[in-house]
Amino acid sequence: MSTPSTEPATVAAERVRRDGGVVARARRFAGDRVALGSLVILLVLLVASGLLEWLRPQSATQTSADLLRAPSFDHLLGTDELGRDLGLRLLVGARSSLEVAFGSALFGLLIGVAVGLVGGYFGRWIDAVFMRMMDLLLAVPMLLVALVVVVMLGPSSINVVVAIGVASVPLFARLARASVLEVRERDYVAAAKAMGAGSPDVMVKTILPNIVGPIIVQFVVTSASAVVVAASLSFLGLGVPPPAPTWGAMLHQAQSFLFDNPWYGVFPGIALAITVLLLDRIGKGLERAFGTRGALDAMAGSS
């Protein structure tokens, strides 16, 4: 696993200067039209969603007499069973959807990276205990882990974030651990130790900066899966509680009215699929920019 670097320090430094650097990476990411476009669309959606809630806070809950209408000029994407505008509800739902997704990926990142760093750095029994816990979380589908955690904590926005976060911890832990094992024996870590740096110092200041790339990629990939898991939880009635409009809960409601307004069952799903695709493209772009091979197809097990 651990391969001591034989690269002379000057060559290594030159390599870092050439393709490291935030600016160089940002430029490489911006060169990827699809990834950049996806990021822009996602940001526009987020801003629009935030503005709508700020300027017209009632727009997602405002009922009307037009029940279950098909798309028209009055209601671009039609209305639901209480006459609420589907388009506006979807847009407001975008913010809560992404909040939960990023929140839970951040939770997974913080806990997972800590677990991976500590386990990988110290090895021995700490590592063994941590990794068996991660094995368990990894063997069970994300949705089932999240379901169990939500049932234990009770449904609320924060608990949904924690539940999906817990399910995504092992993805980060494994990544951080593998990276630590790879760099642990490198010369610069040995040098830091020789200069008297303590364990926390070596982990946070010397090792962590070197594994930032793959962790950021994993963060975006995990958010994409989290969008789907959050929607599944809402669909099962265990997600972010109403009246907040969530795409999963909308699809659950829509099931009772598929004969009256088929569009009701179509649009929230399109919103979901587009969000996941955008995040996936951004992840792919970051992966290329950082030159890391992330586990994009970890998506496979999300739903």
Partner: protein, 315 residues
Amino acid sequence: MRAYLLRRLVQFVPVLALATVVIWAMIYALPGNPALVVGGTDATPEQLAAITARMGLDRPLPAQFATWLGHAVRGDMGSSFISGRSVTSLIADRLPATVQLAVLAMVVVILVGVPLGMAAALAPRSWLGRLVNVVLAFGLAVPTFWLGILLILALSIQFNLLPAASVFVPIWQDPFAALQNTVLPALALGIPPATITARFVAASMSDVMERDFVRTARAKGASERVVVVRHALRNALLPAVTMTGVQLGHLLGGAIVVEVVFTYPGLGRLLYSALSSRDYALIQGIVLLAVLIFLVLNMAIDILYAYLDPRIRMG
């Protein structure tokens, strides 16, 4: 191989032990007194005391765990406090429905995934290949429950071909009715993982097509069809189909939502109703069974991999 088997088994036992502790502890992690959870909020103090004594809640925790585990090993997971029936019999009633759904969904995964992957690998620049690539890109982004709703909209409501709500008919009792009821949920459950299988088939197929033995077969004058079917496909399928095994686990996870969409009476829907009514003994039973299945499945796949690829055994 024996050393690897042993090592993998030694890894399996602590993970399973950890799982049982977590699932047992579920009921204690809930806010409030577990006796209150079981008895309900309108239980009298006398009833609560009786429940506490019956559940052994006044005994030390390790002793409580040992009793619970002892019962669980013998297949006694307690009884549902909604219906009063034993958890084991409730699960046994629903298990065949989920098995039938999962098997049919695996058939969908293979029947859809392999041809799509082959098309993407053999004709990447044709319109078919391009179309397949678009489908594969979307495959990851479409959640199973939405796919289920779309299938209901298209096949049940528009064309009235298949029932929107499924009942369980065992396939050996009435194959036609069984298929009619299970095909829609199986499609919803099988298509998203099929796109992943297709990616693996495509990758391994394009890899194999570059190999020397394919060139040799062509040089011998074999027709393209014979080269693809007899020589390339066989070698390309092995890794891809093994990969499909990994997806069986994820597929079972998706069954929770798909069974709810189609009101299909399997384990997933049993779990859903148990979750909605906070029927903890039943939740514990189903989750324990599910975790056991996932862990055994993972181990079986690891061992299969090691058997097929000796390099893994050394790792």
